[in-house]
Structures are given as structure tokens and as C-alpha cells.
């Protein structure tokens, strides 16, 4: 009886706290031990916090059929200091996105850097998570 009551109290406490967690975590969502590279055509680019999102129709450079991929960027406030802006990408741009894959297998990437069709890097590239003082998370 006591253990049931204790369990109920623990669960109630847990559920009570389950609604207050905030922003998502890099380490929880993305696998920084792996790299992914996707090349395609930009279909949408949003540049708002907490993260920008690049949507492309493309495929892994290692092969595969074209699909819709989304790449989450650093916070645009951070990217702005690296030379990015809301007009850095437009529909139809051909780009390659390098980054870290989503842990859950979705076509969802955390962007490390973006290369234009001519090979130039958009803005200043970021370092690996945990080593960049300007941050890879949030």
C-alpha cells in the first residue's frame, strides 16, 4: 500500500513538472558523433529565433532519392554576427548542408555550415559542439 502511494505521489509529481520544460537540447536531439551532408534546392528559409530553418529538396551526397530535408540553424542572433541575414538564402538556391543528423532518424539536420553551388561557405563556419564559444546549441 505504501509503495503504491509512494509511486502515485512520484508519478503525480513527475506529471506536474512535465509541462514546464522549455527549449530543446542539441545533445538530446542530434548525434554529434556522426556527420551528414545533403545537397539540394532551397524551397524555404526562415530566419527567426530560437532557430532558423532551411528546407530543401535534395538527397545525401552519398546517394539516395530526393526528399524534403530540413536543417535547423543556430539562433539567428548568433548567425547574424557571423554574417548571415534573412536574405542569405532564397528559393531556388542550390546548396549543400553539412551538419549532424537527428537521433530519431528524421530528415532533420542540425546545420554546421552551408556551401553555395560555387563552393563558397555562407557566413563563418561553426566548430564542433562543445568547442565553439559562440555556441552550437539554442
Amino acid at each position: 500500500m505504501l509503495s503504491r502511494l509512494t509511486g502515485a505521489l512520484l508519478l503525480a509529481s513527475a506529471l506536474a513538472g512535465a509541462t514546464v520544460a522549455a527549449h530543446h537540447s542539441f545533445a538530446v536531439f542530434f548525434d554529434d558523433s556522426k556527420n551528414i551532408e545533403v545537397r539540394g534546392t532551397v524551397t524555404d528559409f526562415r530566419f527567426t529565433n530560437p532557430h532558423g530553418v532551411i528546407t530543401i529538396t535534395g538527397a545525401r551526397t552519398s546517394g539516395g532519392a530526393p526528399e524534403t530535408w530540413r536543417a535547423e540553424t543556430n539562433a539567428p542572433t548568433i548567425l547574424t554576427r557571423r554574417g548571415w541575414s534573412a536574405t542569405s538564402l532564397k528559393k531556388g538556391d542550390v546548396i549543400t548542408i553539412e551538419g549532424w543528423p537527428s537521433r530519431d532518424g528524421k530528415n532533420y539536420i542540425r546545420m554546421r555550415r552551408v556551401l553555395r553551388a560555387d563552393g563558397t561557405v555562407l557566413g563563418a563556419p561553426a566548430a564542433a559542439p562543445g568547442t565553439d564559444p559562440t555556441g552550437e546549441k539554442r
Binding site: 513527475a14 513538472g17 514546464v20 522549455a22 527549449h23 547574424t80 530519431d104 559542439p129
Partner: protein, 248 residues
């Protein structure tokens, strides 16, 4: 004779006041993105017993089920274990700011506006603004809880000491572990020898969630002429994640 003594005492008091004022550093300005730093051994020694130093300041984050040595009480651990990261990727939750427990250690800049009786910390992260009352007041009983809490400060030599309570429940490590609204945070801020680096030590304890205390060492770099940018969180960001279909 009396007049001479009075004049000397007055001069001494003036000199002492001047010396005391000289010890208070000028922290006003823009401080570039926060980062983790190697803990200062002397300051680690001075921490109260049962304190663990977390190494997740700056860009580092803990994966699921890792809390950096914090001893989590059973009820809080149950909550942390059932937390699902995708739950945070919803319109209603993705723009909820964390409390200062997590926000201060993040890789974002801040502005400090320092006056004698009030110091303002303007964080870029989630547009958070902290008021640190330096006028000797106590924490009011009835002040509502918020993500920034209620802060009072004092100078300990050249170190700014900030004591904060009334912080709303929020994440500690951004992986499911929350502090309660009884968390108590004490922060110390001091300048490096060249005046261009601001160091911070955050200590927190929570009688409802933790059996030990947590601490983080942080640093920011002074960049003259810069300002924090508006954060203006856009909750529709969450739709991008939720619209993805899981691959087989």
C-alpha cells in the same frame, strides 16, 4: 586639537570611501557570448561541501539521463526519466524561456548596466532582463515567481555577489531535469586581470529536487560598442520539426 582630529577623521573617511569605491569594478557594457571555463581551483576549494561543479556551461550540453553529478531526489528523477524531448517541440512550449539557472550559462551575450543602487543584466537569450537591487533591501515575501526571480546584490571587495530567489520551475540541464520554485541561486561575478573578461560562478541548491548543490563556472568577453540583439522567439519554429515524418 579637536578640530584637527575631526579634519583628520573626515579625511580618513573620505579616503576609505574612495578606496572602497575604487575596488568596485565597472561592469557596464556588452559581454560577448557566454562560455564555460576551467574551474578556478581556489574558488572550488571555497565552495560549500556537497557541491558538484557541472561542466555544461557554454556550448556543452548533457545527453539524456546525465546530470553532471547532481544528486537528484527520487520524485524529480521520475519526472526527468519520463520527459520526452519531442514534447518541448510544440508551439505552446518551444518559446517558453528557461530560468536564469540554465539561461545564464548559455552561449549568448548580455549587456550590463551598472548604477550604484541597481544593476541590470540584459540577456540576449529570450530577451530576459534581470534587475539586481543593490540598495540593501531584502527579498520581499510576496514578490511573484518568474523565470528571472528576485535578485539582490552586494559587493564583496571587487566581486559582485547576487542572491536570487522566487524563480519559477524550469530546467536545470535542458534534458528533463527541472528545479523547483524553491531553488536558491547565488552568483559571483568578477573581472579578470586585464578587465576584458568577466568571470561568473553560479551556485544553486534546491531542497525539493537535489540532495547536493550545483555550481558552474562561466566567462564572457568584453566587446566595446556592441549590443545584444532582439531574440523575439517565434513559436512556429516547432511546426518544422513536428511536420517531419519519421523514417522507417
Amino acid at each position: 586639537m579637536r578640530r584637527t582630529v575631526a579634519v583628520l577623521v573626515a579625511l580618513l573617511l573620505t579616503a576609505s570611501a574612495g578606496a572602497a569605491q575604487q575596488k568596485v569594478p565597472e561592469l557596464s557594457g556588452y559581454w560577448g557570448p557566454g562560455r564555460g571555463v576551467k574551474p578556478d581551483p581556489e574558488r572550488v576549494k571555497s565552495l560549500p561541501p556537497n557541491t558538484v561543479v557541472l561542466n555544461d556551461a557554454g556550448a556543452v550540453e548533457f545527453p539524456v539521463n546525465e546530470y553532471g553529478g547532481l544528486k537528484v531526489k527520487p520524485s524529480a528523477l521520475v519526472a526527468a526519466k519520463i520527459w520526452k524531448p519531442e514534447d518541448d517541440m510544440s508551439i505552446s512550449r518551444v518559446c517558453q524561456p528557461p530560468s536564469i539557472v540554465y539561461a545564464m550559462q548559455g552561449p549568448f551575450p548580455m549587456e550590463i548596466h551598472q548604477a550604484t543602487q541597481l544593476i541590470v543584466l540584459k540577456l540576449e537569450y529570450y530577451d530576459m532582463v534581470r534587475l539586481v537591487f543593490m540598495d540593501g533591501r531584502s527579498h520581499p515575501e510576496k514578490v511573484p515567481h518568474s523565470k528571472v526571480g528576485h535578485s539582490i546584490g552586494r559587493w564583496d571587495g571587487s566581486t559582485l555577489v547576487v542572491d536570487t530567489v522566487k524563480i519559477s520551475e524550469s530546467t536545470i540541464t535542458n534534458n528533463g531535469l527541472n528545479h523547483s520554485d524553491r531553488v536558491h541561486v547565488v552568483e559571483r561575478f568578477w573581472l579578470g586581470p586585464d578587465g576584458r573578461t568577466l568571470f561568473g560562478l553560479q551556485e544553486f541548491e534546491d531542497p525539493d529536487v537535489l540532495d547536493n548543490r550545483g555550481a558552474r563556472f562561466m566567462a564572457w568577453d568584453r566587446v566595446p560598442g556592441e549590443f545584444v540583439l532582439p531574440y523575439e522567439c517565434d513559436p512556429s519554429f516547432a511546426l518544422n520539426y513536428s511536420s517531419e515524418t519519421r523514417k522507417p
